[in-house]
């Protein structure tokens, strides 16, 4: 099995994540884009792990999953309090701090 297809898929997922982060204005969607990027990295690590013939990358993917779960807890808490305060989940409304 060649890992190339998986690596291409991972690169595509990562690009979608970056694009989503840059283009979308809803905080939740932006947050989902970040999670997509983390998962793209996971896929790449597992594919490379298979190609290199060791398990390090697969172990790494587990660590990333735990970190991503912690990130969800922190992120949703911050988004929740912002939403409760402003009744808006658009990043364009977060504009009180300026140069």
């Amino acid at each position: 099995m060649s890992p190339n297809a998986y690596l291409v898929l991972s690169a595509i997922l990562f690009s979608i994540g970056v694009l989503g982060f840059l283009i979308r204005r809803n905080v939740l969607i932006i947050f989902m884009s970040v999670e997509l990027m983390l998962n793209a990295a996971n896929l790449a690590m597992v594919a490379f792990s298979y190609a290199n013939g060791n398990l390090l990358g697969q172990v790494g993917a587990f660590f990333v999953m735990v970190v991503a779960a912690a990130e969800v807890v922190i992120g949703l808490a911050i988004i929740m309090i912002i939403f409760k305060t402003r009744r808006s989940a658009s990043v364009d409304d977060q504009n009180q701090l300026k140069h």
């Binding site: 990027m37 490379f48 701090l97």
Partner: protein, 516 residues
Amino acid sequence: MLQEFLPAAPVLLVLLGGTIAIIFEGAVPRLVRPTVQAAWTLLVLLGAFCWTLYGWTVYQPQLTAMNALTLDGPAQLAWMLLLFFAALGALLFAERRVGGGESPFAPNASAVPSSQVEREAIAARQEQTEVFPLLLFSVAGMMVFVAANDLLVMFVALEILSFPLYVLSGMARRRRLLSQEASLKYFLLGGLSSAIFLYGIALVFGYAGSFYFRDIDLAIQANAQSPWLLLCGLGMVAIGVLFKIGAVPFHNWVPDVYQGAPTPVTAFMAICTKLAATMGLLRLLYVALGSLRWDWQPMLAVVAVLTMLVGSLVGLVQTDVKRLLAYSSVAHAGFILVGVIGAVTTVNGLADDRVGSVSAILIYLAAYGLATMGAFAIVTLVRRSGAEATSYASWAGLGRRDPMLGVLMTIFLLSMAGIPLTGGFVGKLAVFAAAWNGGYSWLVLIAVVASLITAGFYFRIVWVMFGQTPNSETALVSPGVGTQIVIWVGVIGTILLGVLPGPLLDIAINSAGFIR
């Protein structure tokens, strides 16, 4: 097994201290909890500092914690600096007198600002004492980050140090909307940068087949050419760390977060995050990617030039002291990068008793930290109707009203500008010398020009403080014991480092060797 972990005990101690502090949240009565938490945090940081000091005299440089951490000179010295500055930060966290008996943090961070719930929380004198365990966890993450021996540990440490900071940034007592906005911006951009960092790790892993720095170095040396896979990985990993350092073009969060976050958090974040990220970057570039020096030096040189110019030029037009300190921190990130680019280490022909890149950067960070910590402590003292007033207009004539405070602030600003007889001068000299010896004389010339420009905006604040007529609406509150300790430690340290740099130079030179 346990023996393996003993040299890493300071990290474990801080983590354990944080966990016990969380137990205190439920076990200690509400009224005494702030005092107990602050005292416990200081005790834990002090204990970890003493243990690091002990380990420094006892342990040879070695790999520890089952090869996850490296215990060498730079790691131990960075640990000591981190714990020292974190303790000063904790003193600012615990300060109540400047806020009129109120802590600098929101009484109930999850309540909607100016809602009924918040009013009740204020009336009941609630407090979020969780800030202390959050500080401890963040420090633990930073300590692991500077000592990490493989990329995966580095990623996990980066997240451990960041998550508490995201939360802490959003907990200011006053101007809660700004604080929450800063928290959201920091979180989203931080999440993006760590995702890029992680993808870089995946690419480097794909090239080298291992996460360990030593194996990566061996894999690079075994292949004559450096393929795109590795170069992309190097670039993405560098972006992740440069974001934390606050280098242009990844600096956008710095002014917003520094301004919005509670000032004690800003002070802690400004120094400790920069220290941890810089030392992590050094280890990554010198140990794992040392053979790629010719690839990353020009790349970082571009970043350094941009960082110095943007930091110093945009700083000139600021009208807010906290934002100005943020842009000054961006400019300092550029000066630090100048030292990183020099890459003069004992590995590539530095004599044992000379100042190289690593020792120069450690001294620079110590000097920068002392001055910044003191400056932010003074920022907490200038208030208007209870909230901090940070615009230049409200700082007008401060030095005339309280000459002592004005002089202290001036000393910190002079040190940041790199004027002789202050710590900042010694740091800048060491960093620039390292870059010069590394063959980057043109970069040093740009850095000198940039530091002249930064001197412009530091002197502007001095002029605002002494040259303008006092603003009567601004109140100068008298500092509590904690803030006073921070300010005086900052001043004494800054001057000592400037007048007698010898001892610290010797220590830094003797502990500048990374092991692999």
